[in-house]
């Protein structure tokens, strides 16, 4: 996300670098570039104006003229002002003193409310809450079914007494849901509501009626990050119409420019609380304005990365692997399990997007085929248990069979084996002399190392390059998970 904005801002700052002193003209030119970059990223005009005015005032002041490195100081100012327009402090979900906490969702049709409801329930469930999903979108065809299916996937109960598709009274459903939640001791109730393609009075009234009926502790406005200048009108309409306590950004994926993301907090005065990407039901994050600002300025987001890794890697599992590595018993079976854990973290591209200075490389990575991971899995899964545990038995005919079984070539199997042997060796040496368990952030520095390696790994042979990518990608993570987390 924010790729083009990041790239353009870094171009802008590049031209400042190396200047010992900044004149007012330098600053004005920089600000003009920034203004245009923000507008091209669909940031609302009013927000751009506020932002530019604040940066200008500070950039022309003492802060910069007295700084040792004025250009760097300007970047710092832009960063802190970005944090400000993104909402400042990280905002956590407000839980009610006496459960259940009632969360109501509102937003336009297509903003991703129903999917978000399920993602939020999933997240809260992992935090040991007992959520109840409530289907109050009785308008959109199949909205009720969709919520039921999603609820089943994450094993969260869905209250859907009305059949939907235009039949049923959403206010009644909402009221009954609260009763049910009290009776069955659900700690959180998440109410999905109906949207429209545009802001209209009938929808707003329904939202108001539901709000009055359930008295929500949080009224979260769900907005599509891809909206253009239009986002302002939509967000204001909801703020004025039903009143919102927080904002959730959806579809903050690869090509989203995130203009709405940058505008909505300032326009509504309500903080952004969550951001979500993609279809996968774990693709939701607590929104941190400071980290997002760093990401936009391409300073990376290592903290989020670490959190994600911690969430994904099973600690017990990691300990087991660490022991195996140390005693030289790391097998292909373990490698496969590690692969599967890595896959849980999300796409490689997503991971790379959070790393500092990755703007350029990420573009190359766009062509990277995530299916390579699947292919590696297929190869290992085509082996017998004996082969997985004692790779030494893999002779020519076995390799041919494995290649056939996995739909790959013998060359690919060979390359995987080479990678595996090398990784095992490296890990073993690390296990002996590597970082001590319990060091504070073992993942971060190693990730950085991985980036460096990636740059160099540009083999002309696509299969080899892919293998390199894989080997290099997984190897540091294996050690990281083994020793720190």
């Amino acid at each position: 996300m924010f790729d083009s904005l990041s790239n353009r801002l870094s171009e802008t700052f590049k031209s400042l670098r190396g200047k010992g002193r900044l004149t007012a003209a330098d600053i004005d030119e920089t600000l003009r570039d920034i203004r245009r970059s923000l507008l091209d990223a669909d940031v609302a005009l009013d927000v751009v104006k506020i932002f530019i005015a604040n940066v200008r005032e500070r950039a022309l002041g003492d802060e910069v003229s007295k700084a040792l490195n004025p250009a760097q100081q300007v970047v710092q100012i832009v960063n802190s002002e970005l944090v400000k327009i993104l909402g400042g402090e990280t905002r956590r979900l407000q839980l009610a003193k006496t459960p259940p906490t009632v969360i109501m969702l509102a937003g336009l049709q297509g903003s991703g409310k129903t999917t978000f409801a399920a993602k939020l329930a999933n997240l809260l469930k992992q935090d040991s809450q007992t959520p109840l999903l409530v289907a109050c979108d009785l308008q959109r065809p199949n909205a009720v079914d969709q919520l039921k299916v999603l609820g089943q996937k994450i094993s969260v109960p869905v209250f859907a007494p009305a059949e939907g598709n235009g039949v049923g009274n959403p206010v009644e459903v909402a009221k009954q849901a609260i009763e049910k939640a009290k009776r069955e001791q659900h700690s959180v109730v998440i109410v999905d509501t109906a949207g429209r393609t545009g802001v209209d009075q009938e929808m707003m009234q329904q939202a108001i009626d539901i709000r009055n009926a359930v008295a929500p502790d949080e009224l979260i406005f769900v907005i599509d990050s891809m909206l253009g200048q239009d986002a302002v009108g939509v967000a204001k309409a909801f703020q004025d119409g039903v009143g919102i306590s927080a904002v959730a950004l959806t579809k903050l994926d690869g090509d989203a420019r995130g203009g709405a993301a940058l505008s909505v907090a300032t326009i509504t005065g309500a903080p952004i609380i969550y951001s979500s990407t993609g279809e996968s039901l774990d693709a939701i994050e607590v929104f941190h304005p400071d980290r997002m600002a760093s990401r936009i300025l391409d300073m990376g987001d290592v903290l989020t990365l670490i959190e994600q890794a911690q969430k994904t890697f099973d600690q017990e599992e990691s300990k087991k692997i660490a022991e195996k590595i140390a005693s030289d018993q790391f097998t292909l079976q373990d490698f496969l399990e590690q692969l599967q854990q890595v896959k849980k973290m999300g796409s490689l591209k997503g991971i790379m997007g959070m790393m500092p200075g990755m703007g350029k490389i990420k573009q190359d990575l766009d062509q990277f085929d995530e299916k390579q991971i699947d292919r590696t899995q297929a190869i290992i899964q085509s082996m017998t248990p004996l082969e997985r545990n004692q790779p030494k038995v893999l002779n020519g005919s076995r390799r041919v069979r494995i290649a056939k079984g996995s739909g790959t070539t013998v060359t690919e199997v060979n390359q995987l084996m080479q990678r595996f042997e090398q990784s095992a060796k490296v890990m073993k040496s690390m296990a002996k002399g590597g970082p001590m368990p319990g060091s504070p952030f073992p993942v971060a520095p190693k990730k950085a190392a991985k980036v460096e390696k990636k740059k160099g790994s540009k083999s002309g042979n696509p299969a080899k390059r892919a293998a390199e990518n894989q080997g290099i990608s997984y190897q540091p993570k294996q050690s990281g998970s083994s020793f720190g987390l």
Partner: protein, 305 residues
């Protein structure tokens, strides 16, 4: 309106036809409910999604023109702006490619999900049917089950034959092949093929479209690759269009949701920056709210009083 070629079902002659006329002017919301102030023009255009660069440029040119001609009247400024926008938006190649004499015409419709792709296909099919064309629709979005159901409803309305995947996740290229085959059998005039909205990366997209194109070329020619974009997405639509244009030979753009709150300045930005013509626009939720993109109608709507 553009003249199109169709095969007469009885005489087998190729004849010129026109589709039922439609205008988009009334659906476009004016940018200037109040008097036009030249000093505010740039901001108004930015808010209408024209983009920073284009807004600056148009404002500059209009100011120049106004200075030359010296009109101060609001109505004169409106005419001036209308003509300026019309001129900049008009292109030679904005008609649908329905002129070849090789039948059936095949349209591929691409774009991410949620921009109104299926609705676009439905409306286009209905419009062509209303004009007396014989239409076949191919549901090659085999990934999203709901897409097929939605298309089915539209196909019924349009009286068009729908060629569906036999199994979930069937190869889209084979559905495309079957659709063209059906069209040839039925002696249909046009085949519209829906494609999957979400593909992981450019390479996947390219591979899939290439494969579909190859399967079509066994029996016909692809006459249009239409990219559907959502006008409410602002500059983001531009980056989406760019990604698709790099991966596929997009021949025209369909801009949906141009009515209502989106002010459609993005139409301008797309044509200027990508050099791809906008061919069709969706201007409402009704099944007939769909028309050719007429720069003059569009500009007239934008500057209306």
């Amino acid at each position: 309106m553009f003249p199109f070629l169709r095969r007469n079902r009885k005489s087998e002659q190729v004849e010129q036809v026109e589709l039922p006329t439609r205008s988009i002017t009334s659906a476009i919301r004016s940018l200037f409910p109040k008097k036009i102030e030249l000093d505010d023009l740039e901001e108004i255009l930015i808010r209408a999604d024209f983009g920073a660069q284009a807004s600056e440029q148009i404002t500059g040119e209009l100011k120049q023109l106004a200075k030359h001609l010296g009109p101060t009247e609001d109505s004169a400024l409106r005419v001036l702006l209308r003509d300026l926008l019309t001129e900049k938006l008009t292109r030679e190649d904005s008609a649908l490619n329905l002129k070849g004499e090789s039948f059936p015409y095949v349209f591929l419709v691409v774009g991410v999900n949620g921009v109104g792709k299926t609705t676009t296909i439905g409306k286009l099919a209905k419009w062509l049917s209303d004009g007396g064309w014989h239409v076949v629709i191919g549901a090659a979005d085999t990934f999203r089950a709901a897409a097929v159901d939605q298309l089915e409803t539209w196909a019924k309305r349009a009286g068009a034959k729908l060629v569906k995947p036999q199994t979930h996740g069937q190869d889209p290229a084979s559905v495309a092949y079957q659709a063209v085959e059906q069209a040839v059998t039925e002696r249909a005039d046009i085949v519209i093929i829906d494609t999957a909205g979400r593909l992981q990366n450019k390479k996947d997209l390219m591979d899939e479209l290439n494969k579909i194109t190859r399967s079509i070329q066994k029996q016909g020619l692809v006459s249009e690759v239409l990219l559907v974009l959502d006008a409410t997405m602002g500059q983001n639509a531009l980056s989406q269009a760019r990604a698709f244009a790099e991966a596929a030979d997009v021949t025209g753009i369909v801009l949906t949701k141009l009515d209502g709150s989106a002010k459609g300045g993005i139409a301008y930005a797309i044509q200027q920056q990508l050099n791809i013509p906008i061919k069709l626009v969706g201007v409402g939720e009704g099944q007939d709210d769909f028309a050719f993109f007429s720069p003059k109608d569009f500009a007239t709507g934008l500057v209306a009083n």
